[in-house]
Symmetry: C2
Subunit: 556 residues, 2 copies
């Protein structure tokens, strides 16, 4: 009988977190325990590592997601375990999960099968409180804004031009659009605003891109909360909020250490949206990991067109990181769907569809190589995959001079990624020549065009005069050097989620642009982006409870 992820996770033979830290040379007194299986790595320790050499940085990314599933996180975990089994000092870096959505749809494991990070329940609930701290810091700034207006508005904020909303880690559509400060003089000046979910907060993106506590405070202070009636930006620093926000975040800013089922160390830290933000775990976790391990395996949100591009052009650029290899995850099933097969027909062998879907794979390989980093394809094995289908993927990848290696980590853990791990070690031994897609100096609209043409293979970028004027204004205000964060559908290279495979010649319409002056990027929005989800008609919450053994039922 096949065990579920939660059954496997509950049966995990976890080692005390101090023992996991010791594998990375972290002394016990540098670990701040949260229970026996979670710890934060102290700022004093992470701050002391500067002089050490860096290990190799491996990015795990994927083809465009389909309902068939790709298993990017599972492969990230499996590869980490595989490298550890080869005797390397390996560490995994992934994002934290958001609490709110677990009460709508079922929560998720970090990984799956025998390639998981634990403790699974805590990681889906409060974990070490990081997201609560982000919520507090975000909402303190919001309270200070309305309070400033209430007490005379010395900065002259135009209440119609306040862009800073509030956040909650909850799926609550009723809060998307509200009028606040009703009820008379004592409650302030009524205005329209709303709540986003916490992972959409710019504070989250900042926490994940800041290099140290001073940089964190500087970035928090740079947040633009709104504008005066003559369009001058007002920042969090203008409101005197940055110090208190930093205080609220100082514990959350320390990376969280946990472990895989095979006791490989894993940093699970930060979790920005992958559309309106950059979708990677925290820079400080990745940097700390690089100082402590020979191999750091990390991942980025969505497919390589969004996730890997943002990883390279935003996280690596801001953090001065240089990836040594990329693992591009594909499944036979996902390639079939990219080749036009419907979900119901995924069970039947269809080599031709696999071949057709490989166009998506090939496009990603080309794009990734454009960053100057060597690539290997991981075929995340599913039970129904046939040898002919796998061979079709292998042969297709070989045309690009890239190996495609089947992996069975879901069923076998790190034992199922030994071949992949060996190939990754080889690739990382080559001298990668990483460079981001565009230099800082390219104008903002030019950056959008570069991404659209070179990564999405679009013919043109559509944007009205208002949007172009705004980008130009930001350049005049000194923000022209920032990278661009594309908020596009993850299901296609194009802005149309139904265009699978490898479309080209399409148009990319820019509906809106936003300046995240604190995080340090400009967001270009190409479609509807939901920043506050709702609950379904039968929310998962209704089936969640504590069972007689004190375990959480219904969360998974």
């Amino acid at each position: 009988m096949v065990r579920t992820d939660i059954e496997i996770a509950r049966a995990a033979r976890k080692r005390p977190i101090q023992e996991i830290g010791a594998k990375l040379g972290i002394p016990a007194d540098a670990l701040i325990p949260y229970g026996n299986d979670k710890a934060k790595v102290s700022a004093a320790f992470t701050g002391s590592l500067g002089g050490r050499p860096d290990g190799k940085l491996i990015l795990v990314t994927a083809v465009n997601p389909t309902p068939a599933g790709e298993g990017k996180t599972t492969t990230t975990v499996g590869l980490g375990d595989g490298l550890a089994r080869l005797g390397h000092r390996a560490v995994i870096c992934i994002r934290e999960a958001s609490l709110g959505p677990c009460f709508g749809m079922k929560g998720g494991a970090a990984g799956g099968g025998l390639a998981q990070i634990v403790p699974m329940e805590e990681m889906n609930l409060h974990f070490t409180g990081d997201f609560h701290a982000i919520t507090s810091a975000h909402n303190l700034l919001a309270a200070l804004i309305d309070n400033h207006i209430y007490w005379g508005n010395a900065l002259g904020l135009d209440s119609r031009r306040i862009t800073w909303r509030r956040v909650m880690d909850m799926n609550d559509r009723a809060l998307r659009d509200i009028v606040c400060s009703l009820g008379g003089v004592a409650n302030g000046f009524p205005r329209q605003t709303g709540f986003d979910i916490t992972v959409a907060s710019e504070v989250m993106a900042i926490l994940c891109l800041a290099s140290d506590l001073a940089d964190l405070q500087r970035r928090l202070g740079a947040i633009i909360v709104g504008y005066t009636s003559d369009r001058r930006p007002v920042t969090a620093h203008d409101l005197g909020a940055d110090g208190a926000m930093t205080v609220l975040l100082k514990d959350a800013f320390q990376p969280n250490l946990v472990q895989t089922l095979e006791n490989t160390p894993a940093f699970v830290h930060g979790g920005p949206f992958a559309n309106i933000a950059h979708g990677c775990n925290s820079l400080i976790a990745t940097r700390t990991a690089l100082k402590l391990a020979d191999y750091v395996v990390t991942e980025a949100g969505f497919g390589a067109d969004l996730g890997a591009e943002k990883f390279m052009d935003i996280k690596c650029r801001i953090g001065g990181l240089s990836p040594d290899g990329v693992v591009l995850v594909a499944t036979v099933r996902a390639l079939k769907m990219n080749g036009g097969v419907g979900r119901a027909e995924l069970g039947a062998e269809d080599v031709a569809a696999v071949r057709a879907g490989c166009a998506n794979l090939g496009r990603h390989i080309e794009n990734l190589r454009g960053f100057g980093v060597p690539v290997v394809v991981a075929i995340n094995h599913f039970d129904g995959d046939t040898e002919a289908e796998i061979e079709a993927v292998r042969a297709y990848a070989a045309q690009y001079g890239v190996e495609a290696i089947p992996c069975t980590h879901w069923a076998e853990g790190g034992a199922g990624t030994q071949a992949l791990a060996r190939r990754v070690v080889d690739l990382a031994g080559e001298s990668a020549a990483f460079s981001p897609l565009y230099p800082d100096e390219v104008p903002l609209f030019g950056k959008i065009e570069t991404i659209a043409r070179r990564i999405y293979r679009a013919e043109e970028v559509l944007a009205d005069a208002r949007i172009r004027a705004r980008l130009q204004q930001w350049e005049e205000e000194g923000f022209g050097h920032l990278p661009v964060c594309m908020a596009k559908t993850q299901y296609s290279f194009s802005a149309d989620p139904n265009l699978r495979g490898a479309p080209e010649g399409h148009s990319v319409p820019i509906r809106e642009v936003r300046l995240c002056a604190g995080a340090g990027f400009v967001v270009a929005i190409c479609g509807e982006i939901m920043t506050m989800p709702g609950l379904p008609s039968q929310p998962a919450a209704q089936a969640i409870g504590v069972n007689e053994d004190g375990q959480v039922d219904g969360l998974f």
Copy 2:
């Protein structure tokens, strides 16, 4: 040079929390560490203590508060340390602090001088995340309400009769009164609602009154969130929310263990409002403490007219607790103010004013004795107090056959409460005959009258027909056995905050009544009660920051 509380706290010689737990016989594996100086006591362990005998329960309460300060928490801590110095196994039980208000006015120590609980900074910030968990559980229920209406409202909730608001641990007046669900069909049905601060949540009161996880879930399920158009109550259980709320609270429900400057164990757990709720630390912390220690020193919010009455009539009644002694804290300064002296004149000796103010003290002594529990007065010493003033208090108390004992714990820690501690041991050795003020069977309005007449010494209770009808309706619905939680000004026995001393013959006007069916009490509101504070014109937040040593500046 006098050191500040924060300087003293930072210089504390804290022992590892496992060592503090060991003083109470808590094995290390029953402690869930949060760093090295905080831990939660596992549910498995607290659940295993049932068969043990209880230690002695000592309540610390005070005269009516004045701007002069009484030092109730300081005395609670000092007494705990004093009992420990006498060789007794002692533990302190107090409430957790709320994060939000620290960004308005400066945060506070738990205690003061050499009678403090540490770590002070964490206890004013996120601590072990309990309040965040309460915020999440509360707001999940709110999201489920609007979601239920959105998806067809099968329960027939009348959107005008929803009483469940949302909460945030932040002083944010802009959220007091809002309209939510604006923006069209996708966002639901617009309605008026608002946010309270987290400590005002009924979930907080429930967490503090539940006896175990099953009782917690039962109480959460019993929360009434609103009414149908034909006035039938709709509960959290009807919405299927109670299981998920319990899951969110299961870690928070475990008591937090910390220590005093003298390494005496302290449980700091829960923090309900002392007006619309009962203002005591959690029942589970107190019960756990009683199983582990010879002496448990705890406190209740505000003066004895509110705090002690609620402790006796709500917490002890619901929890089956039986206090063994009461320490009534007074300061010479507070008695002078009760005797009519203004704040500016507190420095000068004024024995007559002290004598006049002792009327307040005497009234509280009489009231406390009415509960059948022996009383001792602690005179919390301030530098300017003269021997003649202290003697006046002593002589006054002696008329009631009560000792009044000067204490110098602020300056000397537990060494300053040795005489008080000895007297407490003597008192607790007598056989107390505790009984609450009224039996469960008294009708709700009768309970209000009993408290008003016997504790407040009021002539009458004023309530219009609407309020009396509502109380009667609740009795018909089966809630008549619940105790009453009075929400009255803390500054006077009367409902008029300016009436110091020992007023009598006044009227107590009931403006509003609320049913907390989950917490298990009916709230009677006698004045304006603010459930969402605002920030001042110069919020403390603007001066808060992390200094070069990584310490938090400006919080205190």
